[in-house]
Amino acid sequence: MLTFIARRILYSIPVLLVSSFLVFVGVTKTFDPLQKFRIGIKDPNALQRAIDRLGLDKPVYEQYWKWLKGVLQGDFGVSYRTSGEVWPMITRSLGFTVQMIFWGILVALLFAIGIGIFSAIRQYSAADYALTGLSYIGVAMPAFWFGLILIQVFGVWLKQRLGWERSPLFFVGLHSTDSKGLNLDYARHLVLPVLTLSVQLIAQWSRFLRSSMLEVMSSDFIRTARAKGVPRRRVVFRHAFRNALIPLTTDVATQSGLLFGGLVITEQIFSIPGMGRLFLDSLAQGDVYVVLAYLMVTGVFVIIFNLVADLAYGLLDPRVRLS
């Protein structure tokens, strides 16, 4: 297994290098970190000072090589925008994104498993049809639209309707400025973004689980277990669910990795200063070192979670051997 892990990590290095170089070239050629020096400043030397400071007069490959050497020594460089170290910016944003992913996946899994199992064991019932219909709506619904609707309904409309001073659910950040930790304020901030994040996951995963549950439930070993008089609950949860979980686990692990870089919309709508917003702000201002650090971190997470998916697959299904 160790050989397998080592080989996977080695394979990922050139992928990261090539993608980071392409992103570096793309960002430096497309966005302008000097924009604010070009308009409104009367100092004729300001622009040249900034070019000299940032080394923007050097060829792109030279700028990239300088960055790469720094990364190999643990230095992700300095942000063009803030003049601050890039790494603390990444870790700070990552903290918010990790919270979102944790709660989003937890909620999505709880609901998806519940719905998936229920739909499978009540196949073709009215409830199954209703949940199937809702799942299709959930899959088709754009996250940004759903998030805005939630804000309008639970943030604005409800507050106005009830005549309260503030809305029952918040939609700016993950906690109030003076509040910290797991408390009611945190819960009121979490509900809407987590719902926005998880609705599509619930829809996808519940369909996924329903299909695999139905496939497993029609297997010979399930029929045998039922024939032997094993209680229905035990057949469903211990025999069928465990086997149906294997493809879902792979999907959850893969999507979790992608989520580390893919919460742009949710974070933007709910003003959460996570990785997605950091990426968006940095990209718009040509802050290439932050964009690259973002890419490296999300790339590493994708690789790790793909690896976890493969390992989990092997653990859950003894027939699968990693080679």
């Binding site: 302008d32 924009q35 400071r53 003049s83 809305s167 819960a187 974070e267 200063p273 718009a284 201002q285």
Partner: protein
């Protein structure tokens, strides 16, 4: 079944607790108990600023939450990461001492000696320009140390001294020869050459830095993430990156002390989020950009007080490339100006805010005393368009467009892609210009490309964007003086992107930069404005109004077009 019931009960309890918590007011808490603030909605016009609401005195205390649609990059105001408007409004104005503050006199916003000084500075013009600042003996930092001439000297050296590095904008400071700090209560600044806009030094976007605290340290590192010292009414309690900034009163402030206990600025993702947060009560005051959606929402009605003003430091204009056909001919530029009903455009964009008239100068409304009104002659007049175009050899084709030698009077308009207000402006102009015989296409670009490459490189015919003045001083030389046309000589950093090259204009705009006599300065500025208007070097459009919306609980807000909406935050009160 039992599990299911338990879950349902828990869900009901959670829901109930959320609703119960919502009934409380843990956001904008106030210890105020009796007074009720005034609730006036005021709309300004193109040249007037809406007055703040006034009210019966409200008790002190309370926490106010304000929506901020931009997080500053850093709080090292003089560093290259500085320059953020929101950083300036939220933290700089609240904490930094400045030699001059900005007050309204009549219709004009003017610089006046602040309470840091004992009086107006004295100025001498020969043999070299010197300015002597007498410092108020009561002026102290939050550490208790007095503000001294050493602070002036330190500020100058950090910005334009030999060791200055990574500076955002050294203009003005680079004209200082020395700062004499031999007397702690008197700073004498000597200039290398005459500099008429000296009042914006040791203030404006920077302020005065505390030499005793910062000497021997890395200024940028000490300041960029916020600082604990202050000489303003507020101190920065914390800056939680990505989340918000909290200000608390500076107990050692030598002026009028704040009445609120705390002010929290929450960072919001964009104007839309800002507006929703205001409507939901998550924030009690917003200062949104004048986007179409915002203007429409205001038109539809928003709870609370509001102030709109066209008396700003902004001028949004059609910036014409004077070196590109067909606008390399003065008469064609004049014909363009006569083709457009600018008041109709402004009214369409900002009418609901009470801003209905086009601006008539590139000097923004806050320096209107230096501005001419010569552009006022350019009203929509299709007969005049025909006369001018015919004069320079154009004839109208069967398609209704002017043409000369087979070339149509055709051009592309460029602005920042995605800006709905500007895109609407383009659509309105396109229709008006078609009627006048000009073929206008739209070729928008990302802001980075427009301001980074297209405009500086002169790769445009007409561009739509705004110039913003950060201090009420005239000065069009950066964008109109021919020596500032991007070239090898100025390392392509010149900002005369319009390639305006009018020999008789250059001495006038240069005179405005160095003349101390205000009457002569006004005369030179107005004469320059007349030449610009006669040549239609570009075409001013609107003042890009400021919008301030606030909860009825708050008393005191009013907009200062230079210092921002929080300039008098220390006088605000909050009712329960």
């Amino acid at each position: 079944m039992l599990t299911s019931k338990r879950n349902r009960t828990a869900a009901i309890l959670l829901g109930a607790s959320l609703f119960a918590a919502a009934c409380g007011s843990d956001g904008d808490t106030s210890s105020a108990t009796t007074a009720k603030p005034g609730q006036t909605t005021v709309a300004g016009t193109a040249a007037t600023t809406a007055a703040a609401t006034t009210a019966a005195p409200a008790p002190a205390g309370g926490t106010l939450t304000i929506g901020a649609e931009q997080e500053p990059d850093c709080a090292d105001w003089i560093g290259s990461c500085g320059g953020s408007s929101w950083g300036y409004w939220m933290m700089n104005v609240a904490t930094m001492p400045r030699a001059f503050t900005i007050v309204k006199e009549g219709e004009n916003w003017v610089p006046k000696a602040s309470e840091v000084l004992a009086g107006e500075p004295t100025i001498t013009g020969s043999p070299k320009q010197t300015v002597t600042y007498k410092i108020n003996p009561k002026a102290v930092w939050s550490t208790g140390d007095p503000i001294t001439s050493a602070d002036f000297k330190y500020t100058f050296e950090q910005i334009a001294g030999p060791a200055a590095k990574d500076i955002y904008d050294a203009s003005g400071y680079d004209k200082i020869e020395s700062v004499d700090a031999s007397k702690p209560d008197t700073a004498v600044v000597t200039f290398k050459e005459p500099y008429a806009s000296w009042k914006q030094l040791f203030g404006a976007g920077f302020g005065i830095l505390p030499s005793k605290i910062l000497t021997g340290k890395d200024r940028s590192a000490e300041m960029k993430d916020g600082y604990t010292w202050s000489a303003g009414p507020w101190k920065i309690e914390k800056w939680e990156k990505g989340v918000g900034i909290t200000l608390v009163p500076n107990a050692g402030y030598f002026g009028a002390k704040p009445k609120l206990d705390k002010v929290v600025f929450k960072f919001l993702a964009d104007t839309s989020a800002e507006f929703q947060a205001y409507k939901a009560g998550e924030v009690s005051l917003i200062y949104p950009q004048p986007q179409i959606a915002v203007v429409d929402a205001i038109k539809a009605g928003v709870d609370g007080n509001s102030a709109f003003t066209g008396n700003t430091g902004n001028v949004e204009a059609l910036w014409i490339n004077n070196s590109k056909a067909p606008f390399d001919v003065k008469e064609v530029r004049q014909a363009l100006a006569y083709s457009i009903d600018r008041d109709a455009v402004v009214n369409r964009l900002f009418g609901p805010l009470g801003v209905t008239k086009a601006v008539q100068s590139f000097n923004p409304p806050i320096v209107s005393k230096y501005a001419g009104t010569d552009f006022a002659i350019y009203k929509k007049d299709l007969a005049k368009v025909a006369e001018l175009m015919t004069k320079v050899g154009y004839a109208k084709g069967a398609d209704g467009y002017w043409a000369k030698g087979g070339a149509k009077a055709s051009f592309a308009m460029r602005t920042t892609a995605g800006n709905k207000r500007r895109e609407l402006t383009e659509e309105v102009l396109q229709a008006q210009l078609k009627e006048a015989g000009f073929e206008m296409t739209i070729d928008n670009a990302k802001a980075g490309d427009l301001f980074g490459k297209i405009a500086p490189g002169g790769d445009y015919q007409v561009a739509l964007y705004a110039q913003v003045a950060t201090f009420p001083e005239p000065g069009l030389s950066p964008i109109t003086d021919s020596k500032n046309i991007p070239s090898e000589a100025n390392k392509n950093s010149g900002q005369n992107w319009q390639r305006i090259n009018i020999p008789e204009l250059d001495p006038l705009v240069r005179l405005v930069d160095v003349e101390f006599d205000d009457a002569k300065r006004i005369a030179a500025s107005k004469a320059a404005d007349k030449i610009i208007a006669d040549n239609v070097a570009s075409l001013p459009l609107d003042p890009l109004p400021n919008i301030l919306l606030w909860s009825k609980k708050i008393s005191g807000p009013s907009d200062n077009p230079v210092l921002g909406p929080f300039w008098n935050l220390n006088t605000w009160t909050l009712a329960k």
